[in-house]
Amino acid sequence: MAGPSAIVLFGATGDLATKKLIPAIYDLANRGLLAPGSGLVGFARRDWAAEHFQERVADAVKQYSRTGFREDVWQQLLEGIRFVGGDLADDAAFIELGRVLGELDRTNGTGGNHAFYLSVPPAAFDIAVAQLRKHGLASKKDHSNAWHRVVIEKPFGHDLASAQELERKLSRAFDPSSIFRIDHYLGKETVQNLLAFRFANTLFEPIWNRNYIGHVQITMAEDIGIAGRAGYYDGIGAARDVIQNHLLQLLALTAMEEPTSFNGIDLSLEKRKVLGAARVPADFSNHTARGQYAGGWAGGTQVAGYLAEDGIPPDSTTETFAAIRVDIDNRRWAGVPFYLRTGKRLPHRVTEVALNLRAAPHLPFNGTDVRNLGTNALVLRIQPDEGVTLRFGAKVPATTMELRDVNMDFEYGTSFTESSPEAYERLLLDVLLGSEPLFPRPEEVELSWQILDPVLAYWAEQRTAPESYPPGTWGPPSATRMLARDGFSWRRP
């Protein structure tokens, strides 16, 4: 259970707060993980009374909470819910925020422990942090044992330089150990299971290297378009939005060596080592691909192309699909390409890490008997159908020695009937507990930009639009060619 504290939600009326953060806070309370008297302070540009915000919170909980609405838990939570209306630039609002927090500390016993969740556009990070500092809400040195933590969401900058700049500004106001960068993927059960899978078993470690693994494909596909996020998305694009954080973190967890322990420092050390050894091969034209979705029919509905979306300039060169090859220069992975791809308006929502094993050195079968046989594969399914798949060859029941690929599946949902906590539940709890392992550290963020920056620069130099792809397909032809060149093909996830 987390000690008594208050969470301040900047952007409390936004989509993320309504659908994820508020329900997660309630679910924590419902599971008995939130101290009685915990505070929840909404901050937004609205002229609302506290009662109105409380109603909004209740609606969000009823609609989106995982564990179901219970009146008694709600009453407990309700005691600590406050609202402060105002602009981020508005000094009076921050003075009011300070007063509300002081009052919560006295009446609810939150003891000066405050977590500031910046669920606002990245452009607003600066002003929010500056205001917190100015009004003494982020004080680094506090004479009591109270803590002040700040939580930010990706993107952490848009390149290496801006990420470093953001880091400087944050660390001026907050202690480095008090800055929590949320990559909600790392809070997912299946990502955490990746650590269990690799380091709790003896079965997989012997094959987890270049001797057995031929190549790795990491995919995060979304079937939706940019869905009203034009302002955020245009100019950012798929690579900055997803590859820089989610996919490179998944790569790091897949490829890193065994950490000495699972505490934040040790885990990050291994991730940094592997990210430091990773690079995109120099010939970017052959080893990267980018695309932009066109309009048409997808999945049973007619959808607009990227350029026709509301708020997107008709000559935008922002990519909605990105694929890159990453090579890791160390003993374990030399010669094993890691292919990372992500996109919007792909056929369906799926995230997975697929390790494709090398072909058997010799097949003592007839050529025609093994034509249906691929190579073995181990697939870690992150979402939505969480689990692990092992693909191997087996004999087809008949009189001939004919072989075919079969799958052995482990399904999270059936092996553990308890539903997995939402990623935000876990991460919010960790913020309140001050537990760091699941949050990327600034060094990891910077190393990820170092990998991606040259590719982004190369794309920007091209001055051409990304290759268009029909909605609801697996991306542009250049992505297919990119793998074909290396003798592989993309898996259909």
């Binding site: 079937d223 048409g296 029919w297 997808a298 999945g299 049973g300 509905t301 007619q302 056929p347 369906h348 929502r349 025609t368 034509r371 249906n372 594969a377 697939v379 939505p384 159908d385 798949t389 693909r391 087809v396 008949a398 004919e402 075919r404 690929d405 079969v406 799958n407 052995m408 599946d409 482990f410 399904e411 949902g413 059936t414 029909p470 909605p471 609801g472 397909t473 898996r491 259909r492 996830p493």
Partner: protein
């Protein structure tokens, strides 16, 4: 469990399948995705055949039909754990969506597994270049489902592309097996060959093409047979003849040089059995390809 949807999309169907799997506690363990493109009146028979085939090959079966509503709408149903081990998704396309069926099917293909497309009735002239056909690694047509089966088979032959097969070929498996085995057992130089089949029977046509390709001699195909399906095959040489004669569509008489006549069970098999057999091999059928090429050569010679 059966769930029905009106005016749906693939994201909703995918969620329904995932939640049904969780509720039923089934793990997938499936071996292929089978896409079935049927007309409304073929729906029940096609579904029955799929369920049967699904017992030997647990699969996700995606059954496509066109509906009559004017609105651009997708109706669907999802069945899991009902009467077959796999998953059955039926899709009914209305309005303009009928022109974009492949955009609905693509998201529903199972990860990484082979995809087979089956047209139980009429099939496109060029299945390998059909928008749905292109999704498949194997395409199964049935010339006998067309109004003019022989003509349909000829069109198939001209547009052959690797991965295609026709159930006409599957119907011949036993005949071909018996003929090949008897030539192994009683080797002789075949000097002439003849096939007799029912009028309009495409299998007889294809059997003739196969024999002429394998034996490298012209084969006469007579479509004046009075029995059902293929009635009669004879391979003649100096030593005598190998002959199979079936008039009741069930039992055949088999004769080979120096042997008394014997009876052989050569029952015409139903659709379910044919499909199940066809799904056993998921690679290209080279002998079929060569026989279809022989059929094309013969057509060209006649022109």
């Amino acid at each position: 469990m059966i769930k029905k949807f009106t005016g749906t999309n693939t994201a909703e169907l995918q969620r329904a399948i995932d939640s049904a799997r969780h509720q039923l506690g089934t793990t997938s363990g499936m071996v292929l995705t089978l896409i079935v493109v049927a007309e409304l009146d073929e729906f029940d028979q096609a579904l029955a055949a799929c369920v049967q085939a699904g017992r030997e090959h647990p699969s996700r079966i995606v059954l496509l039909t066109n509906g009559l509503a004017r609105a651009d709408r997708l109706d669907a149903s999802v069945r899991l754990g009902e009467d077959a081990p796999g998953e059955i998704v039926t899709l009914r396309f209305h309005g303009a969506l009928r022109q974009h069926r492949e955009t609905v099917v693509l998201p529903l293909l199972l990860p990484d597994l082979p995809v087979v497309v089956w047209w139980p009735g009429e099939s496109p002239a060029d299945p390998g270049n059909d928008p749905i056909g292109r999704l498949g690694t194997r395409r199964i047509t049935d010339a006998m489902g067309a109004p003019d089966p022989i003509r349909a088979l000829e069109v198939r032959a001209r547009n052959y592309c690797p991965g295609d097969t026709d159930l006409t070929w599957t119907r011949l498996t036993r005949w071909r097996g018996l003929l090949a085995a008897s030539l192994d057992a009683y080797p002789m130089v075949v000097e002439s060959a003849e096939v007799r089949a029912a009028p309009g029977n495409a299998a007889g046509h294809l059997l003739g093409a196969w024999l002429s390709d394998r034996l490298n001699l012209p084969v006469r195909v007579d479509h004046g047979g009075v029995g059902r399906g293929v009635n009669f095959v004879v391979l003649a040489g100096e030593e005598g003849e190998i002959r199979i004669e079936r008039t009741d569509g069930n039992m055949a008489v088999f004769a080979a040089p120096g042997l008394p006549e014997r009876i052989v069970a050569l029952t015409r098999r139903d659709l379910n059995t044919l499909l199940t057999e066809e799904l056993r091999r998921l690679d290209d059928d080279l002998i079929y390809a060569e026989s279809m090429a022989a059929l094309v050569r013969r057509l060209d010679e006649h022109e």
